[in-house]
């Protein structure tokens, strides 16, 4: 199930991860190595714990009072859940883009600059804003209206603004939780193109419901499914995307990607 590559190329690793909501175990026994500068997609039916697992990678689950977890997330040789690790710092290193575009109700410029400022950025802010917007392939569309509200943009633009905002704080890993589910197909394509460009500098983990998207734009794919007995999610199969979509090892995987359930 795990990749054949050497451990030095891993951006982040999950070891025996279980996430609980109260007494309910949402995902169980996840072991996963995410490779650097690759796009890894989590696919699976609704409720199988893809987003829960994704949030475990930057401790966003901490914000849900009833959730807790065990197991380890190893990042740069350190478990993110060790007591001496500050979750605020984790989230800066491992950024996140959400399902619904959620720009701040402030100017486009301020949307980018705020994250940098609160993280103590000392350089030229204009330059950072421009570079981040360029990296998110939205500069040309917004360069003349940086003082307008982020909410004045279209859905696809808003999502790219959110990506620009995320990369402005220079993370190493970007977690994307179904970033295209609220977007039309053209905006979706643009985000996918963007992901390919970002891949050169960032490691990306994406949760998606869209099998074509996973097939088109990811290097690795993890298929999660829900255990019929305790209703918790577990990882069925993890392999290179091309292999999974052409030659799935597991019966469930094959049924899912050919659309027979889910």
């Amino acid at each position: 199930m795990s990749s054949q590559n050497g451990s030095t190329s891993y951006a982040v690793q999950a070891k025996d991860v279980n996430v609980y909501y109260g007494d309910f175990r949402a995902v169980k026994n996840i072991n996963l190595d995410i490779e650097k500068n690759k796009i890894t997609a989590f696919i699976g039916p609704s409720g199988c714990g893809k987003s829960t697992l994704l949030r475990a990678f930057n401790r966003m689950n901490d914000l849900i009072p009833i959730s807790h977890m065990n197991g380890e997330i190893i990042y740069r040789g350190k478990n993110l859940y060790d007591d001496d690790v500050d979750p605020v710092e984790v989230r800066r290193r491992i950024g996140m883009v959400f399902q619904k575009p959620n720009p701040f109700p402030k100017s486009i410029y301020e949307n980018i600059a705020w994250g940098a400022r609160i993280n103590g950025y000392k350089g030229d802010m204009d330059q950072l804003v421009e570079e981040s917007l360029r990296s998110a392939a939205i500069w040309d569309e917004v360069k003349d209206k940086l003082d307008q509200s982020g909410l004045s943009l279209s859905g696809g633009q808003q999502q790219r603004l959110c990506i620009a905002r995320t990369i402005a704080v220079k993370p190493e890993i970007i977690l994307m939780d179904e970033p295209c589910s609220a977007l039309d197909p053209i905006a979706t394509l643009k985000i996918e193109e963007l992901m390919r460009q970002l891949q050169e500098q960032y490691t990306i983990i994406i949760v998606t419901h869209n099998m074509q998207q996973a097939a088109r734009s990811s290097d690795f794919t993890a298929f999660l499914n829900m255990d019929t007995e305790d209703r918790s999610g577990y990882m069925v199969e993890f392999s290179e995307t091309s292999e999974m979509f052409t030659n799935p090892q597991n019966q469930q995987t094959e049924e899912y990607i050919t659309g027979r359930f889910g």
Binding site: P65, G95, F104, W114, N119
Partner: protein
């Protein structure tokens, strides 16, 4: 499936069912509409009720007519002008004008007629005194002449009745040559028939018995004397006598029952008539002719044809040279002849000339003069020691007495304060000299639709009172402090009290309330049992009766925290006085406690309404909870928080019960400080409504309008704030 379809109504049954549903719908719609009507109706009735009380007719009785103060002042000015001859004898006045080339003056028309070749008659406002202008009233300085007797005398002494008839029938024949003007013929005829009705049919002069004794006005003296002589010649054989003691003194003696027939150059005032009534003397008033006062000058002032009202006022009270009146006149000094103050003519003249000058228009120096003349010495000294009337001297105190007082251990405030300003002097005059007292008030509805009836009733009941339309809500009401005189009472101190109490409330409850809400919403784990208890408690506290907060405020702020709330701790309580915790601070903090739960709940709602995606977006960028809350959650929640806070503040503005418990005062005459006793608008309203006098109900209505305006302003600002923030997002 067919089975199910059969279970739904069809055709007629379906139509009935649809009709039934529609009918039910319209009935409910009607019920809702009725509810709306009832609500609107109640509101309208409430507003009308308040407006009905806040405006309307009032009968105000002044201790001294303010206009008489003006007249007195102007008279004083007139007789004290330089180059002015003052005399009661019109012959002297005439001679003064004849002897001086640039003289002008007032004399009786009879005296002008006697010296017509040496005097120049001047038109007033274009009118000369002639039989026509006097008869039709276009010449202004005309006064009717009267003879009076008591009804009993008229009926029991035939000589008096016969003399009155003789007077009326013959006076008009001789007035022309004597310099008087005749009375209106119809009026004469009416008065003769009145006497016939009261005293029986006419007899002849020689057939009546009894004596005749006349007294009173010197203006009427020559005419009445002539009539006595003629009456004797017509055959009357009783004793006759006539004295001249002046109209005012004459009326006084007449009403005391000392005079048989009274001569008067002015009608009795209502007050004098009622004094007569009290002595069981029913005066019968008979008008016998008209007397005119002429404006005359030395013949050399040939440039002067006619004088306007304004010129008269300038000539006799202000200017000293003719060219100051009009640049085209020669630069000669103005020399004046004016009847003396005791003569009655002066009073008549000044009442006419200065009728348009209101007390408000007099110069500031006049106010000091009026205070000096009319205010009692003891009261004047007390007021002067509070604050001086003049910057450069004293009215009631001698310089040395004042210096001694200022050198004492506790010098009066008058030593350090500057002199009173114009408004202050005016207030002193109004409160200490005029002393207006509301005798009766009428609501707006009656004032509009039964005006005549009210005016008639009021003039019978309060002969000296002025019936006027009054808006109880006026400038003075807003700027005057509380007073026990309804006419002078205002809400300034109550408005200040409200503003300061509410400011304290806001400063306390806004930061505390919003802080608590932020903790509960953003930090506290709401699943924990103690947080649940706190949340429930906050919700329940919002429903606790406000008087209980009053008890809490009394115990905690007024008693326990006395050193803080009285200002003692801050050195704000003078040595030797007992500190009192019943202060603005205590009241503000009590109201702050009262609205704290409301602010917390509203702020929590507002924070909860901020989408969680904002918090996740912030946290996902590596922001701390506080950074996210401060930069994104709070700004988005702010309009809601402010709206809730303002609505809570308007609750505090209208609150009465807890403040009564905390110890609001009702009579506060000085503007409050944070550590002083206080009153607020609702307390003031409560106090006024609980007083028995009707005029305080009117004041309460006006104060309610002020309170409503403050509340509406607060609520409107909440709406504007909300709209502005929601459009800017």
């Amino acid at each position: 499936m067919e089975n199910y379809e059969n279970l739904y109504p069809v055709d007629d049954e379906l139509q009935k069912f649809i009709d039934y549903r529609k009918r039910t719908g319209s009935i409910w719609r009607g019920v809702f509409l009725m509810s709306l009507f009832v609500a609107i109706l109640v509101l309208i009735v409430l507003m009308l009720n308040i407006i009905n009380d806040a405006f309307g007719l009032v009968a105000v009785e002044n201790e001294i007519d303010p206009h008489s103060l003006v007249i007195d002042y102007q008279e004083n000015t007139m007789v004290n002008m330089p180059n002015t001859l003052v005399s009661a004898d019109h012959g002297d006045l005439a001679n003064g004008i004849i002897d001086n080339d640039s003289a002008i003056g007032f004399i009786g028309h009879a005296h002008y007629q006697a010296n017509a070749d040496e005097l120049r008659l001047i038109a007033v406002d274009g009118q000369f005194p002639t039989a026509e202008t006097v008869a039709d009233g276009s010449y202004p300085f005309v006064r009717p002449l009267y003879i009076y007797t008591a009804l009993d005398t008229l009926q029991s002494e035939p000589a008096v009745a016969e003399y009155f008839r003789f007077y009326l029938e013959n006076a008009n024949l001789v007035v022309g040559e004597m310099g008087y003007f005749p009375a209106d013929e119809t009026l004469v005829a009416d008065q003769i028939s009145l006497i016939n009705k009261l005293a029986g049919s006419p007899q002849t002069a020689d057939s009546v018995t009894g004596d005749l004794a006349l007294s009173g006005s010197s203006s009427l003296y020559p005419l009445s004397r002539q009539m006595l002589v003629d009456f004797r010649q017509a055959g009357f054989n009783g004793d006759i006598g006539i004295e001249q003691i002046g109209s005012t003194a004459g009326i006084e003696a007449f009403c005391a029952g000392d005079i048989q027939v009274l001569n008067a150059s002015r009608p009795m005032t209502a007050a004098e008539a009622s004094a007569c009534q009290r002595n069981r003397i029913n005066p019968v008033e008979i008008a016998v002719g008209l007397d005119a006062l002429a404006v005359v000058s030395n013949p050399s002032l040939d440039f002067l044809e006619s004088v306007s009202w304004n010129e008269l006022s300038l000539i006799f009270t202000a200017m000293n040279f003719w060219d100051e009146i009009d640049p085209s006149y020669p630069a000669l000094p103005i020399v004046r002849s004016v009847p003396s103050a005791g003569s009655g003519s002066l009073n008549f003249l000044s009442a006419r000339i200065f009728s348009d000058i209101a007390l408000e228009n007099l110069p500031t120096a006049a106010y000091a003069d009026i205070i000096r003349d009319k205010l009692g010495r003891g009261r004047g000294r007390a007021l002067e020691r509070d604050q001086r009337f003049l910057a450069d001297g004293f009215i009631f105190d001698s310089e040395s007495a004042f210096t001694t007082a200022c050198a004492s251990d506790e010098p009066p405030t008058g030593c350090s304060l500057g002199a009173r300003d114009r408004d202050n002097l005016f207030d002193v005059i109004e409160q200490e000299i005029i002393v207006p007292q509301v005798q009766e008030t009428w609501p707006l509805y009656d004032s509009l639709f039964k005006q005549q009836e009210i005016v008639n009733r009021a003039s019978a009941k309060y002969p000296d009172a002025i019936v006027e339309f009054k808006s109880w809500l006026n400038r003075d009401f807003l700027f005057n402090p509380q007073s026990s005189e309804a006419e002078l009472a205002g809400v300034r101190t109550a408005i200040w009290g409200t503003v300061m109490v509410v400011a304290t409330t806001f400063l306390f409850s806004f930061p505390v309330g919003v802080g608590a809400a932020i903790y509960m919403e953003e930090y506290a784990d709401q699943t924990l049992w103690y947080n649940k208890i706190i949340q429930t408690n906050i919700s329940n506290l919002a429903g606790v009766p406000s008087i209980i907060y009053g008890m809490l405020g009394l115990t905690v702020f007024v008693r326990l925290l006395l050193p803080l709330t009285s200002g003692q701790f801050f050195g704000r309580v003078a040595e030797g006085t007992d500190p009192s915790g019943r202060t603005v601070i205590s009241a503000g903090l009590t109201l702050g406690l009262l609205i704290l739960p409301i602010i917390i709940i509203n702020a929590q709602e507002a924070l909860r309404a901020v989408p969680n995606s904002m918090r996740r977006a912030g946290m996902g960028l590596g922001a701390t909870k506080w950074q996210t809350t401060w930069s994104h959650v709070l700004p988005q929640a702010l309009p809601g928080i402010l709206t809730g806070t303002i609505l809570a503040m308007s609750r505090a503005v209208g609150e009465t019960a807890p403040l009564i418990v905390v110890g609001a005062s009702t009579v506060i005459r000085t503007d409050p400080t944070f550590f002083s006793r206080f009153t607020v608008l609702p307390i003031q309203i409560f106090q006024w409504t609980s007083r028995p006098q009707a005029e305080f109900q009117n004041l309460a209505a006006a104060a309610i309008i002020v309170l409503l305006i403050i509340l509406l302003t607060l609520n409107a600002s909440a709406v504007i704030l909300r709209n502005r923030y929601s459009t800017s997002n």
